[in-house]
């Protein structure tokens, strides 16, 4: 089962390697990891998707909490958060296929961000399922390259992880 963790860390060099290293040496399976700075420039958020049972996710949470630059770890409750991913997909495409691909893009709310005589590049933001659907539909045309950001997640409603940890 997949679990999504929202992790606040101090925005310092080397933190990513500490987190990633912890996963590899303890044998936890990372599905995706996305990092970016929060509204506080000193704090970054990592959204980590982990595959494993309840025991694994409990250990991941506890071991992450042991890392000194980790400020807070929150295992997001299923159904109580919004998750989104961003992808850029480059497809092999002759001019006469442009219309077909543009139709597919429109169906899935993707946009065409680059055109060349031999390729089209699409951009999509959405759930993992929607991204997979688009990639599946584009596959027959020949996918040259896919770049995915990994999942980002935010809790629904007013609650936040950061709020409770705002610097005093």
């Amino acid at each position: 089962m997949k679990h999504t963790l929202s992790v606040l860390v101090e925005n310092q060099p080397g933190v990513l390697s500490k987190v990633a290293g912890l996963f590899s040496r303890r044998g936890f399976n990372i599905d995706s990891l996305a990092v970016g700075v929060t509204q506080d420039a000193d704090i970054s958020r990592m959204t980590i998707v982990v595959d494993g049972d309840e025991h694994i996710v409990e250990q991941v949470e506890k071991q992450l909490n042991k890392l000194i630059p980790v400020i807070k770890v929150k295992v997001l409750e299923p159904g109580m958060f919004l998750s989104s991913e961003h992808a850029l997909i480059k497809v092999t495409c002759r001019a006469k296929q442009h219309a077909e691909i543009m139709n597919i893009a429109e169906l899935l709310h993707a946009s065409i961000v680059d055109v060349s005589p031999a390729s089209l590049t699409l951009e999509i933001t959405g759930s993992e399922d929607r991204l997979n659907t688009l990639i599946g539909l584009l596959k027959p045309y020949g996918i040259k390259e896919v770049v995915r950001s990994g999942a980002l997640a935010i809790e629904k409603g007013a609650s936040t992880a950061l709020k409770q940890n705002a610097k005093a």
Partner: protein, 539 residues
Amino acid sequence: MISGAEIMVKCLEIEGVKTVFGYPGAAICPFYDFLCRSKIEHVLVREEQNAAHEASGYARAAGVPGVCVATSGPGATNLITGIATAYMDSVPLIAITGQVNQWLLGRDVFQEADITGACESFTKHSYLVKNAADLPRIFKEAFHIASTGRPGPVLIDVPTDVQKQMVASFSYPQKAQIPGYKPRTQGHAIQIRKAAEAISKAKRPLLCCGGGVVLAGARTEMIEFAEKTGIPIVSTMMGLGVVPMDSPVYLGMIGMHGHENANRAMHDADLILLCGARVGDRAVSDPQQVSDTTKIVHIDIDPAEIGKNMDVDIPIVGDIRLVLRALAAETDYTAPAEWIEHVKAEKAAFVPKGSPRDDYVEPRSFMRVLSRMMAKNAIFCADVGQNQIWAAKNFNVKEGRFLTSGGLGTMGYALPAAIGAKLAKPHRQVVCVCGDGSFQMSMCELATLKQTGADVKIILMVNERLGMVWELQTKLYDGRHTATTLTGSPDFVKLAEAYGIPATEVSSNAQAELAAKRMLESDGPFLLVCRVDPDEPTL
């Protein structure tokens, strides 16, 4: 103006550091240049790994962080085993390493090693210092992190240019402010109540005491709790010394090398209170088997230890000392007499193995005799291998300490750790036991011993083989003994004498007893070589 190197020394002084163990090199020279102007004593080891072990022995004996220093590259990488050893046994350690100049970092220049990266998985935290102005904050944080919560090693890697960098002024922070680091010491009241309730229903309760009890200084609380409730105690190897072997509440050491009656008590118990024990595989080989039938209360300051290896019914995060006090206040329980009689009878029926002999020193009976001869508060260091198990099962730690590398199982630990312990506690008797395998991993420290004049007595059990591995090969590898015979070892008596350290060799228990008595009465370091039957089993 003040240099980074001077700041480093000042930080150590403010932290109350009296002794550091190290080995200089070009990349740490600016620091050494100021260290020699300080009152801090520097112990020159003969190889960096021993600096970490000596600092570790010092830390464990003194109860404050030990400090070791090395230069960049090979100096730093030589520290690794000592740092990992300290990590596994939760020893507060500050490792300071020199690093190449910042502008050369990442270019694989002479004596460059990414030591913070290399130590990532066995330091509690690490720093690569980029600016001398950050040094006071970093040292403050490092000492705080190393010595609070679950103690552990912290590495501070300082490039040479940062040591030379001049900053306007020096001020040391009053407090370390780390947003993500707030170890919980008080156990949760509701959890403590739940544990008290579970105890009140238990018919066969057992206390299991681990290294965390020693680290928390919770010896008195542990014994008082056991005496108040009548709950018997078993210990892990790291928990040895909390309760004397002859105490009526103590049953013995658990684990694959433990006492049979203690293991049986673990098996028979219907409630186990794990206190500062991480349920390592050598202590409990199949945790699931225990947890299926037994209620488990696990007390540990490190939440990640709870539930890691064993399913736990009642977790309590906190300092063992405080939790045991709170638990004692919550309970009026008295353990059923039937259970007490049962475990006492099993302990009484346990016959210690080994009896004196004339052709060799019988190590188990010798350990028992030795512990009777030694001071009550002596510090005893055991190395790793057969000597460690002979000592762990037979040496009665009364009011002193038993130091060994229980987690990582690092051969060569005992001699340097004993030197560190002696320098921390100069008025306490310090004795170490090694095998001829483990001793040869750190025997260069005889020079450090001589140079410091530390009064450390060394008992060397010589059986000319790597006894434990030999046994393993006998049992599991059809008796194919590969690379476990120690031919080419020196004459250890002559070796010690070459260092100016008196030594003697004995080959019977009677001789050993007399020699040990003379050794303990002598001034200064001494090496006692005991000839042990090569086929002497571990258990």
